[in-house]
Symmetry: C2
Subunit: 502 residues, 2 copies
């Protein structure tokens, strides 16, 4: 393919002008430009970097109507979702400006000389510095929040790293338009040329990950695609960090006490959550552990039926969903509570599916049942006792989230939270995992295959840390130190001095 063509998911018809592929040699020069500007970007004061982020947020807000319309034509995600996502993406850029103003992110630590230490030491001062040019792979399901100006880009720029975005082929027109707006806003705000670029096409991805100028990669997408790029990143002569968010099935546990007290309400919440955005959330609840013979299966089926058809982002995703649901349904022991009949239409419309299976079968066939199936499908796993619940829960692979519905005082709740914690990055009680707040405390990550690196998050203030590395200065005179580490603390940032906060 040499052109990237936006397609209207509602009709299957092309929309907007096709965007040409970026050839490998062009990727090389784009990455080189990023490398050339890296020292200037890194050299901007934190406040200046914060102004770049604020300027990008303003550009999004000032062009909201045009951008939402463009996004809707290429993704059919509609309103209120798209305006909400744009607002969240702008707020995320502003949050990283706040993180810069706060200054704690650079982790300044000072140990003054100590002749009595074992071993004795001189003057040691540590802080975090930018890694260098970062490649960001945009996702298809969040055309604002995980795309050109999404969380990976915002956190990398905040860290002082130039960014080259590989656009998602699902919304090439929107990606180009945002790239244009961003270029204008950055230039006006004083960013060096090369701070942010966008490339397109299948050839561009591997070229970017293997480019000698690129020092880290942020990725959001499928397990297969992410693994292939991860393998390239770690297979380089000089391996680089690859922060990939891949597949997640986001287990939910409903206890007997919760079904008894509010089964119907939980079923309705589930129906809303797994169908949100046509089930195209990385935090979609894909597997729900419920007490057997509790009637929750009928409650869930009732809450989902009747469902209107809704379009998936691309024809490929629609086909993968249909074959994924078929594969799940064919596993012996799986019941189809709500069947996702394929639709005879030109667009990418699908209908939701609800499946059910007993906990023992789930545990023994986790290979077939515990993988992510992108789209509006969820699997109820029916357990007879706590032991079989825990056993089945432990076969769930690493996930971004794990949720528990339980009544106050439920004696089984503590152990379930403990088991969930072994394999997830966020634990939700009496709520749903879809919807990811952007805060200081957010963690959007988890053990493989939820991510390629369980230490890191792609959402929240600490996402910046992926693109920073520590440097320690030993016996360096004040005038040669960065301001963050000078004696007088001219930046007024939080520091740890001689072991205590100062």
């Amino acid at each position: 393919m040499s052109l990237n063509q936006g397609v209207d998911p509602r009709t299957g018809e092309p929309v907007g002008d096709p965007v040409p592929d970026t050839r490998a040699e062009q990727v090389r020069s784009v990455a080189q430009r990023a490398a050339d500007c890296a020292p200037r970007l890194a050299g901007l004061p934190y406040a200046g970097r914060g102004q770049l982020l604020n300027a990008l947020a303003t550009a999004l807000r000032q062009n909201e109507n045009e951008l939402v319309e463009l996004a809707d034509r290429e993704t059919a995600l509609g309103s209120p979702r798209l305006p909400g996502e744009l607002a969240r993406t702008a707020a995320q850029l502003d949050m990283f400006a706040d993180v810069l103003r706060d200054g704690a992110f650079c982790e300044a630590v000072i140990d003054r000389p100590d002749a009595n230490a074992v071993p004795p030491h001189g003057d040691l001062r540590r802080m975090l510095v930018p890694l260098g040019p970062v490649a960001v792979f945009a996702a298809g399901n969040f055309p604002f929040a995980f795309s050109v100006l999404g969380g990976d880009t915002a956190s990398a720029l905040a860290a002082g790293c130039p960014v080259v975005v590989k656009a998602h082929p699902g919304h090439p027109g929107l990606s180009e338009r945002i790239a244009d707006l961003a270029a204008g806003a950055l230039s006006e705000a004083g960013a060096p040329d090369g701070t942010l670029s966008v490339v397109h096409g299948y050839e561009a991805g591997p070229a970017l990950v293997t480019d000698p100028s690129i020092t880290a990669v942020g990725f959001t997408g499928s397990t297969g695609g992410g693994r292939a790029l991860y393998d390239l990143a770690v297979g380089r002569e000089n391996p680089i960090p690859f922060y990939g968010e891949l597949g997640s099935i986001n287990p939910v546990v409903v206890t007997g006490s919760a079904v008894d007290a509010r089964g119907r309400e939980i079923a309705e919440g589930l129906a809303g959550s797994f169908r949100l955005g046509t089930g195209q959330f990385c935090t979609k609840p894909g597997v729900v552990f419920v007490p057997a013979d509790s009637g929750f299966d009928s409650q869930a089926a009732d809450a989902v039926r009747p469902s209107a058809p809704a379009p998936m982002l691309t024809a490929r995703m629609r086909d993968a969903f249909q074959s994924g649901v078929a594969a799940l349904s064919e596993v012996p022991g799986v019941r189809e509570l709500v069947k996702a009949e394929p639709l005879d239409a030109d667009g990418h419309d699908v209908l939701p599916a609800v499946l059910a299976v007993d906990a023992e079968t789930f545990a023994s066939r986790a290979d077939a049942l515990a993988g992510e199936c992108f789209g509006p499908v969820t699997v109820l796993v029916e357990y007879r006792d706590t032991d079989s619940l825990h056993r089945a829960l432990r076969t769930v692979p690493g996930s971004l989230t794990g949720s528990l519905h339980a009544e106050p005082g439920d004696p089984t709740a503590g152990d379930i939270v403990g088991v969930l914690r072994e394999s997830v990055g966020r634990i939700i009680v009496n709520g749903w995992p879809t919807g990811v707040a952007v805060t200081w405390s957010q963690h959007h990550g988890g053990p493989w295959p939820a991510t390629t690196d369980p230490l890191h998050t792609s959402v929240g203030a600490t996402a910046i840390r992926r693109f920073l590395r520590p440097v320690t200065y030993q016996d360096v005179p004040d005038e040669l130190l960065p301001e963050e580490l000078r004696d007088g603390n001219p930046l007024g940032i939080p520091r740890r001095v001689d072991g205590v906060p100062a």
Copy 2:
């Protein structure tokens, strides 16, 4: 090889009883035992975990004479080095107990519900939790500080992760003895069985890295060996973090002002630093940029000659050193200022070497001249001006350290520090990189090939972070939260609440 036999480097004769290899199936059961005890270890209060570390430190100190003697027979590192290293290793264990008592390491962050946030959010609370069982590969050159109870083990245990150490074949007897002492100390201090194990032999390494129970790896050793194990870790079906410290050549820059003011003193400092421990330091200054025609070459040669022979740790390291020096010397343009004549002896003795080359040749032959050569050799790179210095310096691969010798007010110093910072983890002014303090601010890491992950350190308080991952609790009732995140802050640890330290 089915036995690991200690050898006296001074004579080449075997010492102590041979230690049998751990077969792959034994590794599997050792790792399983670690996994089985992981929840209990993770569940110990921080103070309890700290007591385990203090108990290990005490075990080292109480058996100092025996351990130093054992270590000396297998490594010939002698006194004061070995008693000093033991003291530092014990102090390192105690430091991580302090890190636990401090509590900031768990990074507790709380954001209370905010209906006005974009998007609005509920109650979110983040902290770090243990990753799970960790494999540690001991180094040969630090039989205490980077071995069974070294920094990787101390930081992993502090994080609440059980450890399986792959012993270094250079000191099998010492490794076994320390394993015995540690087992007793841990058991007495209340650690669960399986908290710390030691395995031996070449088969055990790959078996450990690919074991399904192992969740992360700490490694200190050669670039070749480290790369092979790194490839296994990232090639797993579920890749795991691999924290490897590999090769580093630790550039030193000496400015004209410094040579003029104290060339002889610097030459003597260099002679001490690159020969320390027979040049077997990962922070050994391997390349020294000096002004051409400044007379520093003679000063360096004078400071090194005459040198007494000193033993390397193993016969293999001695042979690699001799062939490495020969390969460096054969590069056209390289002058031998001090020649390392091979010795005709039964032990592992070698003599030091000092080589010199001009900066242009170095920059164009960095492939041959800028790799680590373990042992007492250093290369002077003679530069004619600042431009050629910077060009040559930029060809130096990622290193643990970079050093600058300059007089106060030297106008070239700032730019040199800037160039060094691009590729090193620690910058030293008017000092030497050998000798690594154990503090809150220490960073012992750097870009590839110094380490496999530039974000992390293997020395200093933040080494603990390699073995922790974040978890966020959303709307979780106080009674189901870990103590770190409860409303009343029962542990009294530093936290960030609603964006500000509390």
